[in-house]
């Protein structure tokens, strides 16, 4: 039991008694990670923009059918998985464990569907259209490094996100994780969605085949 002076000290900003951002350390940590990852993707996308604008023979390998229809479907799937994640976070804040797990599993399905579609597209580009990291039949060889590098890094984030969702859903369902853990997981998932909102127009829509 603290005396009055100690109580006042604990409430002060310098003693750890107050939370300046009104959130737990896990959530703040995730936000800081998101900022650092934003800079990683930004560096890649800014470098890509520079290469895209200054290379006159940049390949345009994406016709409306199937490539753009395919990638637009992937975008809508990822956006839908973000909405299911919002539902999961809302359910967790109502302490509805069953619905939280259900919405998180729906989010995982969205993530797996996105990854499946993406890998199908990669296989098509590699084996049918002969695009590789170091070369392609249509134009500047740099395209392969940029395309597979940026979309590959994003796909890695999606796959890690699916595993992260699985672990948190399992733990939350068993009562081992809190609603805050679900919310922190949601922040990561929305960030993955946010990055794709830049990758899709900049990589795909800037290289459509008319």
């Amino acid at each position: 039991m603290h005396d009055v002076k100690t109580e006042v000290a604990l409430e002060s900003a310098w003693s750890g008694g107050k939370s300046p951002f009104a959130m737990g350390s896990k959530k703040l940590g995730m936000w800081l990670f998101i900022v650092s990852d934003t800079l990683t993707f930004s560096a890649l996308l800014i470098t890509y923009s520079y290469s895209r604008l200054t290379n006159p023979n940049w390949p345009r390998p994406f016709p409306i059918n199937p490539a753009i229809i395919f990638s637009t479907t992937m975008t809508v799937v990822l956006l839908a998985s973000s909405l299911t994640m919002v539902m999961a976070v809302m359910a967790s804040q109502r302490n509805d464990r069953k619905k939280t797990v259900m919405w998180m599993v729906a989010t995982m399905v969205g993530g797996l569907l996105f990854t499946g579609l993406h890998l199908t597209e990669w296989m098509n580009m590699i084996f049918k259209e002969h695009f590789t990291i170091t070369g392609n039949p249509e134009g500047t060889p740099l395209f392969g490094a940029v395309f597979f590098g940026i979309t590959g890094l994003h796909m890695t984030h999606v796959m890690i996100g699916v595993i992260y969702l699985g672990i948190v859903a399992f733990g939350y369902g068993r009562g081992k994780f809190s609603a805050e853990d679900v919310e922190v997981n949601g922040l990561y998932w929305h960030f993955v969605d946010l990055v794709w909102m830049f990758v899709f127009p900049m990589i795909y829509l800037m290289s459509v085949k008319y």
Partner: protein, 107 residues
């Protein structure tokens, strides 16, 4: 106010309807981007328009889905200005060469 109370206050976020409306807006902007891709604009003009639309989408996702609109403003001040500053620095070091090569490229 203790941490728990702060956290509970912050949780009073957007309703299901608002989140669905935001989702609809994001899908609509995506289709607008696809439509614009077939307008055969200059690459630099196209890239500028697409990046602006993407920034709008990112702002919607961060504000509503990631709850930033409902967090304390101190968090926004911690995260956003520093990120924008770092992004500006990345562009500053590109400038001399980028402008020279843009003039050399075909339009």
């Amino acid at each position: 106010m203790n941490i728990q109370a702060h956290a509970e206050e912050a949780h009073a976020g957007a309703s299901v309807g608002t989140n669905c409306a935001v989702w609809g807006g994001l899908v609509a902007i995506t289709f607008l981007e696809v439509f614009l891709a077939y307008e055969e604009l200059q690459p630099s003009v196209m890239l500028t328009i697409l990046v602006i639309l993407s920034v709008v989408k990112a702002a919607l996702i961060m504000s509503f889905f990631m709850h930033l609109k409902y967090e304390k403003f101190s968090l926004v001040l911690l995260l956003i200005p520093a990120t924008i500053f770092c992004l500006c620095m990345m562009f500053i070091f590109f400038f001399p060469d980028a402008l020279r090569l843009l003039q050399m490229g075909p339009h």
